[in-house]
Symmetry: C2
Subunit: 265 residues, 2 copies
DNA sequence: CGTCATGTTGAGCGTCATCAACAGGAGTGG
DNA sequence: CCACTCCTGTTGATGACGCTCAACATGACG
């Protein structure tokens, strides 16, 4: 537990320890680098396609989306990010952003200068491994979204997204489970859900009604309730393996060993 | 230039230098680790979903696809890989594969044991940065595929894939350019093209005819010819920036500096 | 025998339009 | 200061219509 665990940065350092298996000194140092914390309103770009950031953004509260906008104005959401992640970490290695980072809800975000991150990476080489692993998991999620967009009909596509977000939210303690039922906040409008699934807002509306009629999900404003997770999982063809290809803590040994090996040179 | 540059491993070490900006000693060492080179027939899995590989696969000749198969038997191709890449590099960090690696053509592939890669990464910490960067570029390509699958109509979707592959192939010298025309090998059947774009094989067939009728592309068996790259680029809404978010050689300074910084500890 | 080609049919989904519900903000009067 | 209205923008809901694309044919070509 770092001294930051109680503030807004706490969720960040907590995740670094639990999910990314970073050792406490590294996550503590990272947490201390987060500065310039401020609040963004909903539906606002934090980073834009074509930008060349000199700092990275840490999401501390709220949801953000990765998205690209086509010439015609159509927007495709390619990923959803929940708190404690660094959505534009790639700008450290790829200077020009290929997509936008946009707030979904009101968002509290902090910033870490690239220079500080680079310095910390030379001090703790295993940090690069942790970042690489984060990127690999993002990649696995992106692949599953490709399958969703390319191969599943509308109802299953929406259901699959709900399954994925339910799993990810529960994993960071932001979903309430009672037996086989799961409820969690859902800040996306039907229009945004359409942008994420490649469907029109109208068709989203009708398909949601179908899912409700089947008794698979319920909506109370800003909140989704999955009545029977097993049924929804089966309906959507959801397999959670891709979200965390290993049990938490398992890769700690690799990262620790790497740290010791480099330090001993 | 390593001593391997003339053999099949040459394309691998060449790309490590040119694209990944690895220094010659590292790429030379990596090239030496490639062993057990053998040839796979077309349409065969090299690595399967659920596998826990203990080695990584280096594609030396031919094309492979990343793909996932749904319960109903529908296959979604999420990425295409051309020679000189390591498609299952992620198995170093995420032990369980979330997707299949399948040959498209006949493929020559070599293998590097995880243990050797891990050892080399402790010897050259900047190798992790290079691998991370590769993963980030893969991620940028995956995002563009998500946009393709979710937001573009059939004709533009296919045209966009042709633009992407033309650019990537030309980048490694496997496309012939004459003025504004570009021709390159195209080993995918119409069925596989459908699996990559989320369209039925029949609709692929008809849309290809439409593209031919518009004079945008021509087909000779196993070969695609883009008659006017600018026109096709405009038609598809293709912007090549995401493929290499920087000019080759630009990130060499970061990786070199990282190598020196860690070595000087 | 796999791949490409071509016709027919219909389901799935997009587009356009309208309407209700709701949340702010400005102004008004109490 | 608070309550009430009016206005406006956003979201969700619903109907009518048309187009894109999938499903199931059946041949033709290597």
């Amino acid at each position: 537990m770092s001294s930051h665990s109680s503030g807004p940065v706490g969720v960040f350092t907590f995740r670094l320890n639990a999910v990314s298996n970073l050792s406490s000194p590294i996550s503590y140092a990272l947490g201390r680098l987060v500065g310039n914390v401020r609040t963004f309103p909903a539906h606002q770009d934090i980073v834009r396609q074509g930008d060349r950031p000199s700092q990275c953004c840490v999401v501390l509260r709220g949801w953000v989306s990765r998205n690209k906008v086509l010439e015609g104005g159509v927007r495709q959401i390619t990923a959803l990010h929940i708190p404690s992640t660094i959505p534009d970490l790639q700008s450290l290695m790829l200077p020009q952003m290929d997509h936008n980072i946009t707030t979904v809800t009101s968002v509290e975000a902090g910033f870490i200068p690239h220079s500080a991150l680079r310095h910390l990476m030379t001090e703790f080489p295993s940090l690069a491994l942790a970042f690489w692993k984060e990127t690999l998991i993002d990649g696995a999620i992106a692949r599953e979204w490709e399958v969703n967009l390319g191969s599943r009909p509308a109802a299953q596509r929406i259901a699959h997204l709900f399954c994925e977000m339910a799993t990810r939210l529960e994993h960071v303690g932001q979903a309430d489970r009672i037996e086989n039922a799961l409820s969690f906040p859902w800040p996306l409008t039907q229009g945004q859900l359409g942008e994420a699934t490649g469907l029109s807002a109208i068709h989203i509306n009708r398909t949601l009604q179908e899912l409700r009629a089947r008794g698979l999900i319920e909506f109370t404003r800003q909140q989704v309730q999955i009545t029977d997770l097993d049924r929804l999982t089966h309906f959507a063809g959801f397999n959670p393996d891709y979200l965390l290809s290993e049990k938490p803590g398992q890769s700690a040994s690799l990262i620790d060993a790497y740290e010791r090996a480099v330090a001993s040179i």
